[in-house]
Amino acid sequence: MVALTAAIANLKGGVGKSTTTVMLADGLAYYYGMNVLVIDLDPQANSSQMLLTEQGVQAASDQGKGTHHLLASFMEGKPPSAAPFVMPNAVTLEELRLAEEHDERKGWISSLPAHPQLRLRELSLEEEWYGKSGTPTTLADALAKHFQAAFEPLLPIYDVILLDCPPHLSPLARAGLALADAYITPTIADSVSTWGTKQFSDWVGKFVAPDLPSRNFVLITRFRDTKYARQVASDLREIYLKDRWFGPTIPESIHVLNAMDRPALDSYNTLRGKYAGVTGDVRRLAERFTDFMTQRTGVTWQKVRD
């Protein structure tokens, strides 16, 4: 079996991309026992921070792990290989850790983390590339080719690879989008996010994936239950993106935002402790996304936990 690669992306910032990435990784690993790899292509490194803590992100970087090191290997003309840059342990849930401790691994999360250095390296690469008459498009294509070869050996190891993409269309972000089998679009039920989602959808549909509707999983996050928000959410489903897959509407949760701030590398939380009032939404997200995966890959999944 080969992993499904899904890019979590939207041109608009602040729509919950990183939180969605971690929530989905937790949900798929916890409920379906999937082996998940989270690749962070966003120099803000938010999902890496949520999984590994700031200390862990820095420690990973010091150990030569991370997407900025992968980018450096491209710049140095080394053979494409992503495996050496992966942190194999990015689990934050106590249930997954305990299962591992009892030699009955049921679900696991690994991380190819980002680091703020990523943007500096990318800028340096861009300056060098454009100095040799390259263009953003040729750079994005070259990176995509390198990454595809680098990720190839990882595909049989994982069940799903989540690519957390930055909220812009840099060559690195475009390379990430080009690698994806599926596109997860988090958005918020308001007018600016709806418009930003349309821009993103149009751009990806035109330049990356003409068959985007069948490959697109839309998620309305940080939902405030007001009449206006309900109307916008309904319009997204019924009018603006009516041919897409939709996940459950995720309510705004201060508890989850706090819980994403992992206290320390040796800190673990139960699924219920981490997600509290939205635990049911995490389960529905995992269920719905697994249905989407099945439709994309033909592989069916059984739950390992309720």
Partner: protein, 122 residues
Amino acid sequence: MAESPGLTPVEYIDRFFDELRAEVRANPALAARLVKALGGNVVFDNEAKADVANPYSLAAEGDRARFFSVFGTMKLGDIKKVLKENNLATRVDMTGKNADQLVDMMYTRASRKVQERKSSIY
């Protein structure tokens, strides 16, 4: 104010400070914020510590003895409350640990977060 048109300015001010004093006595968190805003050093009352003491702020001072003098004398339940409300430990992390171990964890984790998050340029 409108129902007491006969008060002098001093009486108005007295009433205002009476209200403020009453609120400061009843609300230690507000009291601590006001004292800090005025540049004062907050002395923690035992009963109010859990509501007022900020582990990050105390860890940033780098004075381990003062940190332990504030949190080390708290009841176990209050220590857990501070850890939880400041995102320094989950319930899983706290299971089976005594007060000393929890305060030690609080100091280590708060100091690390401060170190990771404090700007190097100031």
